[in-house]
Symmetry: C2
Subunit: 115 residues, 2 copies
């Protein structure tokens, strides 16, 4: 393994070998989606600079946007203090991250107060 | 249950009864941390308007900031298109979300390109 990538070995994957990855617009900070990555998808993301997740429903590597064209170009990547969550700062091609056509998957606001 | 909170029943919790929750600064969009919630912690968060997570390491309700003073005031809450991730927009009291004293838990940038 390339020495630059030793940090991947330090990540804490869950018992399915996965780690949650938050995708955030690198420019304006909008949180676009959360999905899961495994080691292979992280490596593929770094090799291509395009975000690859692990699809839990299809059990396969998921090159985000490969069919829709809405790929995510990786700008920077952070991991958190206990190394069990990733934050991907990305450029969202087409400005649509969600399969519904919305810009962000978080388009539903919940009611949070009584009355 | 209060009718306003029926959306909680529609959330998809994992087989431990948990759902990931991303905390984002409501003002400037900084992603501060990711932790887990269960139904009880969501309800407690809504009742108090202060964020409560579920601590997986201690297996207990975790009133964020109860000891440090760095509580998180809930401003708004979103769930994603498949209702399995929460996005909490918060006011971070003390401007410190991380137990290390950092503002955000995502303070470690990884090297993402060869050379």
């Amino acid at each position: 393994m390339n020495q630059d990538y030793l940090w991947i070995e330090a990540l804490k994957f869950n018992d399915q070998g996965l780690i949650p990855a938050i995708a955030q617009d690198a420019e304006d900070g909008t949180v676009l989606m959360m999905a899961w990555m495994n080691k292979e998808s992280i490596q593929k993301t770094l090799e291509t600079q395009e975000v690859h997740y692990w699809s839990r429903s299809r059990s396969e590597l998921w090159h985000k946007g490969a069919t829709s064209g809405h790929i995510q170009k990786l700008k920077s990547l952070y991991y958190d203090c206990d190394a069990d969550t990733l934050l991907l700062k990305i450029e969202q091609i087409g400005n649509i991250a969600c399969h519904t056509g919305a810009r962000s998957c978080f388009f539903t606001e919940a009611k949070i107060s009584y009355q």
